[in-house]
């Protein structure tokens, strides 16, 4: 009965070159970042022609990418497991405010990062132990934390006690790279390794792709979800710390535009909102495209409202061109044609 055995999925070819091509095609077919690469290429080419200043003033551009990107990276860890964390922007604000309330900058930073971790634990507690849907649980946290940021700050930006540290933080450290960029790159590398090479991180995909199966396979699902929310909370508070240092003040309204932009970055990067699919590399590309697009639009004098229209369109385009959506769309189009052409 050997004929029932399945042949290798890709036919062997005599020609070594076409073999290579088919192998490359197979590998590309397995990647999820295709659309982010395409979008980034288009944005880069167009801005290089129309607004080359985007690249000469790269500090601004990179700074923008780093802010959206950092939050989006943490978010990716949660979305991969099929959960949502809407509280990231509020976490960013509240940890900034907490940091600024301390006299010592070191204690402030530690307190802020600790707050981020704690928020992650609380989120995971509501989702896993209490069993609230993560959209609702973190929506509650979104309001709660934003309110807390205002209460702690007394409804006004809090100036950093040690302004010099903030100014020092803004200076390039290695070559043109500011500490913010370096932290962002470090976070990216660590998360990338965690999610591709470390067993616990790789299991995030299993938890998001098929939670029942993950549980039955003996994967500690609860612990993984806790870890994911803690990563997201920690990274958001890290973004809050960086933001506060750069502005030398903590604003309770900080990061309100970050939430949706970071979600958009992850989704454009090919991360599936239902979980199980995506990569931090995709998120990085998504964040880069969005950041570049925003800066380019700002520099060409486009109104913020119009910018939002553009970003919204890009996001929709990214979702529509998802291979699985394309397949579904083709199917429903066929059904429509079929139902219309009856006798």
């Amino acid at each position: 009965m050997t004929d029932t055995q399945t042949q290798p999925q890709h036919a062997e070819t005599d020609d070594a070159r076409s073999d290579l091509i088919s192998r490359v095609r197979t590998i590309l077919g397995r990647r999820t970042e295709g659309r982010a690469v395409a979008l980034l290429s288009v944005v880069v080419v167009i801005t290089a022609i129309t607004e080359p200043i985007v690249f000469t003033s790269y500090e601004v551009t990179l700074g923008r990418i780093a802010l959206i990107g950092l939050v989006a990276l943490g978010l990716t860890a949660v979305i991969l497991m099929g959960e949502l964390d809407l509280a990231v922007a509020s976490t960013l604000a509240v940890s900034g405010v907490i940091m600024a309330s301390f006299e010592s900058i070191t204690i402030g930073i530690l307190a802020a990062l600790g707050t981020g971790l704690l928020i992650g634990v609380v989120n995971a507690f509501f989702v896993i132990v209490v069993g609230i849907n993560s959209f609702i649980a973190t929506l509650g946290m979104l309001f709660f934390l934003r309110g807390a940021a205002f209460v702690i700050s007394g409804e006004a930006p809090v100036r950093l006690a040690n302004v010099d540290a903030g100014i020092a933080f803004g200076r390039p450290l290695i070559g043109p790279l500011s500490p913010r960029m370096l932290i962002f790159i470090a976070a990216f590398v660590m998360l990338h390794i965690f999610l591709t090479r470390v067993r616990a991180g790789r299991e995030f995909y299993a938890v998001g792709g098929n939670r029942e199966a993950a549980h039955d396979a003996g994967i500690p699902v609860t612990r993984r979800v806790f870890t994911g929310f803690m990563i997201s909370g920690f990274v958001a508070s890290l973004a809050g710390v960086i933001n506060t240092l750069e502005r030398t003040a903590a604003d309770p309204t900080a990061g309100s535009a970050v939430l949706l932009a970071s979600f958009a970055a992850a989704i454009i990067g090919g991360v599936l909102l239902n979980g199980g699919r995506g990569s931090v590399f995709g998120t990085l590309l998504g964040a880069s495209s969005l950041g570049l697009l925003q800066v380019a639009l700002t520099l060409s004098g486009v109104q913020v409202d119009v910018q939002n229209i553009v970003i919204g369109s890009v996001l929709l385009l990214a979702v529509i061109t998802d291979p699985s959506s394309l397949r579904a769309a083709a199917g429903s189009m066929r059904a429509l044609v079929r139902s219309r052409s009856g006798p």
Binding site: M1, T2, D3, T4, Q5, T6, Q7, P8, Q9, H10, T26, G29, R30, R197, V198, R199, A200, R202, E203, Y205, A206, G209, N210, E212, A213, A214, H215, D216, A217, G218, I219, L272, G276, R277, R338, S341, G342, P343
Partner: protein
Amino acid sequence: MNVPDRDAAVGSQPADDRVGGDDHPAPIIEGRNIVKRFGGAVAVDDVSIAVSPGEIHGLLGENGAGKSTLMRVLAGVLAPNEGAVWVEGRKLDPGDTRAALDAGVSLVHQELSLVPEMTVAENILLGSTPSRSGFINTREQKRIAAEALEEIGVSVDLDEPIARLSVALRQFVEIARAIARKPQVLILDEPTATLTPAETTYLLDMLQRLAGRGLAIIYISHRIPEIFAICNRVTVLRDGRHVTTVDIEDTTPEGVVEFMVGRDLQLELETHRVDPDIGEVVLSARGLRAPGVNDIDLDVRAGEIVGLGGLVGAGRTELVRAMIGADIRTAGETTITRDGITKRIASYRSAVAGGVAYIPEERRTDGLALSMPVVDNITLPNRHALSRAHVLQSRKIVDFAKHLAEVVNLRPPEIHRNVGQYSGGNQQKVVLAKWLGREPEVIILDEPTRGVDVGAKAEIHRLIRELADNGAAVLVVSSDLPELLELSDTIHVVRDGRIVGTLLRDQADETSVMALASGQTKVDAP
């Protein structure tokens, strides 16, 4: 019983003395007096089972008999309310999947439990990924995965995501995963449900090979021939209770079915309709053409059950869908006659308005809202009749649904329960009840009993006959030959989108239908 004293003191002896009797080697896995309740319902009621190395043990029972629940208890996925699982004379911690895995019990699930976006290698080692200080050892991962695939003789690219594999291949990856854990006990829950006959044969051969190497295998299947092909012993469950455990030589397929349903089904199956009262043509097609459908003339009369036989892919579903305007037609026309007036069927809407009820094959996706209660599902197409001035009359609705649930013998008849909580057979009854409420002139059923257990099947057949007796024109598509022969007054055999032969009840038997379906002969319509 070969149980060490230490454990014998703690655990109770199995209730059933036949289990692990003298002529069988010591069992490697034993479930003793297992009780599992879900809320008030008892899914498994005091069942004991023991399986020895090298044995393939069949587990049979109707849908909802408690087979899957019992297996999930044995594999440590569910904790039993009473009783315990013993492996090699050691008691397992209840509901501890890890402990069961470590003891060598591997379960291949009924629903595929793979992660679609992860690769073949990652899935095979899911939960036991080889790692060094937290980092995945990719080389080791691939080596073990390749070894497991080789052991079952299947070749597939280790880096391919599961989402890109065929359903059959996924099933084999699932088995490779169980094998990779070096199990002593392998439990398979309906592994052949999605496989073709050739793939099934391959799987059965593979299981016999594995058992030959000393693996204990528990095999759940609806398909009794498979059980008789490979099993040494068989245990039958009914309504969560243990009915019998017998050596396969000591029983027959008929005997096993009797144990499963607890009554003599044979009698029920053979009650044909005597002298059906067949009337005028109600549904008629002339020169019908559509993609996959070639020049069909077909009549269905009032009170008649017409069966469409043929191989899968012969174009039967396409034919009925084109007939009632659910899919595009390229030529020909179909008509429906009601109260002496003949009308052309122009669209699916007009077919439904003319009294056609169509029950498609994929009832779970096309026919039912699983998360809604039975009452809503049954009354959904009948809302108009149950409302006054567009306001639904709730009492009327409940009475209506209760009556229909009784007619189709829904068990348990709780109309406020969600349809999703019922077994496949009962779900099909709900679909039938839904359309019965409309008192259709024409009822078309596509594979009405696929995936339905024996008892529910008999009841669905009874309902179909009753419909015809009450004057409905019935058209049944079925790949289940005994069913087709038993139900139909006339059988049309379809091949390549054409009717290649028409047989009346007394002319038809399995051989003549198969011969036509596979193209060996051609019989002219009488």
